[in-house]
């Protein structure tokens, strides 16, 4: 992905996180994570990314 494409995704996420509202944000992200994982078709890679995403979370 080019930096521009990353930015497109970043913006779409921000807009939709606001659109679904505070009580549905977690559900929305969890659904999205499942969907993207399925598309990626690589469970090991997804599990690695899950670990990476958990890092520095309290920073």
């Amino acid at each position: 992905m080019t930096p521009g494409e990353v930015e497109t995704v970043y913006e779409a996420l921000a807009l939709n996180l606001d659109a679904v509202g505070a009580t549905r944000r977690e559900l929305f992200l969890a659904k999205l994570a499942l969907l993207l994982s399925y598309d990626l078709g690589d469970a090991d890679r997804v599990c690695l990314r899950i670990e990476e995403a958990a890092r520095n979370i309290d920073h």
């Binding site: 977690e26 559900l27 969890a30 659904k31 994570a33 499942l34 969907l35 399925y38």
Partner: protein, 535 residues
């Protein structure tokens, strides 16, 4: 529990028999080769399996009739093979409802339809629904035909003591108390096993969140025998409901209690009626219905560390408690009974070394742990224990409305036959095979002539070969040989070439297999399967 005004065994469709305590008392203290404590389905199966191998037993039960309520209702294919070997399967086939399909719904919309493995080469369906009373009745009918089994009802075992080469049980019935010694004891006394407590043993494991009410109702409901799971339905927002069809127009409805919902209130008759009515409304059923029986349970995965304690073996619920979503409680117990019975019979007859009995725990406890792994997955989906599990479950359900792959997470995976991989009596595989069942796995089914492969098996061990020459060179009184056609359906299912052979145990599991067998290899494997290599 039953509706007000009806006694504990006052059923809408089943007449409970009444059994007296033994009247003739002179022989009560005569020693028995095997004493079985508990005449539930597992104890009765063990008694029948021993009798089939020529071993006499005395079976005790504290009650004067069968278990109350229908309890376990799903009997798996593997259990039908056990019943068949006991000569008891015919009434089961006649009464039960076979099924292969399950449907899951999320807020009223179907998100998954799964089919359990089935094909024309299978003799039995993957699952059958039948009320537990009938299971017990049909096993009991077989026991009554069997002179080697003596059943003593209203006879409670109150103490157990080890003697030098036997076990002494103290038994109390309405007419008195007596001691009886037995060479071996099978503790089939259920989840609250008193023998387990008397031996100072404890079940270990986990208790799961989530409590369910299970209710049986009788109604004229037009729907096939398909397991339905309702997630987050209108009648029970946030909860899960299961619906199963049983014979006699009886329907099993399991519904989850809400967090904080008071259990005593929940099982009050009025509230059960209201909750059931709401489920039926959700199912679109508008006719009359009658409440038969209800109970409450929570999911546990608990097991003994060792199913053997000296001369006492724990079988069925006394050894393990599994969540009922996996429908393995009873099925697992029947396999325990069969497993210990063929081993014990051969040890008693001097055909096997006593060390064979040490394979019971690794094989059957292994199977239980496997059930735990599957059932824990189901339990976590049905009743998510923490916010993380809850969020992912809800995400999967929500996503499944548009993407079927997510609905697969709601598949209860009830049918995975277990392979005895870590058993001391199962031999390493022959690397020459490309497919087919590995040693320790249950023998798969295939059509042979007008019948099935399972019909060809002998009463003890069976050597399956495709080479008449090999069959002629092995002879053992406990071994039957079956010569089958190369290139046939069986050969394909077993991935067997011209020279291949399989040794199958009395419980239908593969003991060993070879691409290039010899009579010496077959004898060696037979000895190993009987513990005779480690005397």
């Amino acid at each position: 529990m039953r509706p007000a005004g009806r006694a504990e065994t006052d059923s809408l469709y089943f007449d409970y028999p009444h059994f007296d305590a033994p009247k003739e008392r002179s022989h009560l203290d005569a020693p028995a080769p095997v004493a079985i404590v508990g005449a539930g389905p597992v104890g009765m199966t063990a008694a029948l399996a021993l009798a089939r191998d020529g071993i006499a037993s005395v079976i005790f039960d504290a009650k004067s009739t069968f278990n109350d309520g229908s309890r376990a209702i799903c009997v798996a294919r593997q259990s039908y093979y056990i019943l068949e070997r006991l000569g008891a399967v015919a009434p089961f086939l006649e009464k039960s409802l076979g099924w292969t399909t399950g449907r899951s719904f999320y807020r009223g919309q179907q998100i998954l339809e799964f089919r359990m493995p089935d094909s024309p080469r299978e003799k039995y369906r993957p699952m059958y629904n039948i009320e537990q009373q009938y299971i017990e009745q049909y096993l009991w009918d077989a026991i009554e035909r069997e002179p080697l089994i003596e059943a003593r009802w209203q006879s409670e075992v109150t103490a157990i003591d080890d003697l030098a080469d036997a076990v002494r049980l103290t038994v109390r019935d309405p007419n008195g108390s007596y001691d009886i010694s037995a060479d071996w004891v099978l503790a089939a006394d259920g989840a609250r096993s008193t023998l387990r407590k008397m031996r100072g043993l404890k079940l270990k494991g986990e208790n799961y969140e989530g409590r369910y009410v299970i209710a049986d109702v009788q109604m004229d409901h037009d729907y096939p025998t398909i397991r339905r799971a309702l997630f987050d339905p209108d009648c029970r927002r946030g909860g899960t409901v299961l619906v199963h069809k049983q014979p006699d127009n009886i329907w099993r409805i399991d519904y989850q209690l809400r967090e904080g919902e008071n259990e005593t209130d929940a099982i009050a008759e009025e509230n059960v009626r209201t909750s059931v009515a709401a489920v039926l409304a959700d199912l679109g059923f508008t006719g009359d219905w009658e409440l038969e029986w209800w109970s409450v349970y929570s999911a546990n995965t608990l097991a003994l560390d060792d199913y053997r304690d000296g001369r006492t073996f724990f079988i069925g619920d006394s050894a393990h408690i599994v969540p009922i979503f996996g429908v393995r409680g009873l099925n697992n117990g029947l396999a325990d009974a069969q497993n210990i019975a063929w081993k014990l019979a051969r040890v008693i007859k001097g055909q096997a070394a006593e060390v064979l009995l040490d394979s019971y725990t690794p094989e059957r406890r292994g199977a239980t742990l496997d059930v735990f792994a599957n059932a824990s997955k189901s339990a976590r989906f049905m009743t998510p224990p923490t916010p993380g599990w809850q969020l992912m479950r809800n995400a999967a359900l929500n996503l499944s409305l548009t993407h079927p792959f997510a609905g697969e997470l709601a598949n209860p995976r009830q049918m995975t036959p277990y392979t005895y991989a870590d058993s001391p009596i199962v031999l390493p595989d022959d690397p020459g095979f490309d497919g087919g069942p590995v040693p320790g796995a249950p023998l798969p089914e295939a059509r042979v002539g007008d019948g099935y492969l399972s019909d060809c098996l002998g009463p003890g061990f069976t050597l399956i070969t495709f080479d008449p020459g090999l069959a002629e060179t092995v002879a053992d009184s406990d071994l039957a040989t079956v010569v089958l056609q190369p290139g046939s359906e069986v050969a394909e299912v077993l991935a067997a070439g011209l020279g291949s052979a399989y040794l199958v145990r009395p419980d239908g599991h593969v003991a060993s297999r070879w691409t290039r067998p010899s009579s010496a290899l077959v004898c060696e494997a037979l000895n190993r399967s009987l513990g005779k290599d480690r005397k």
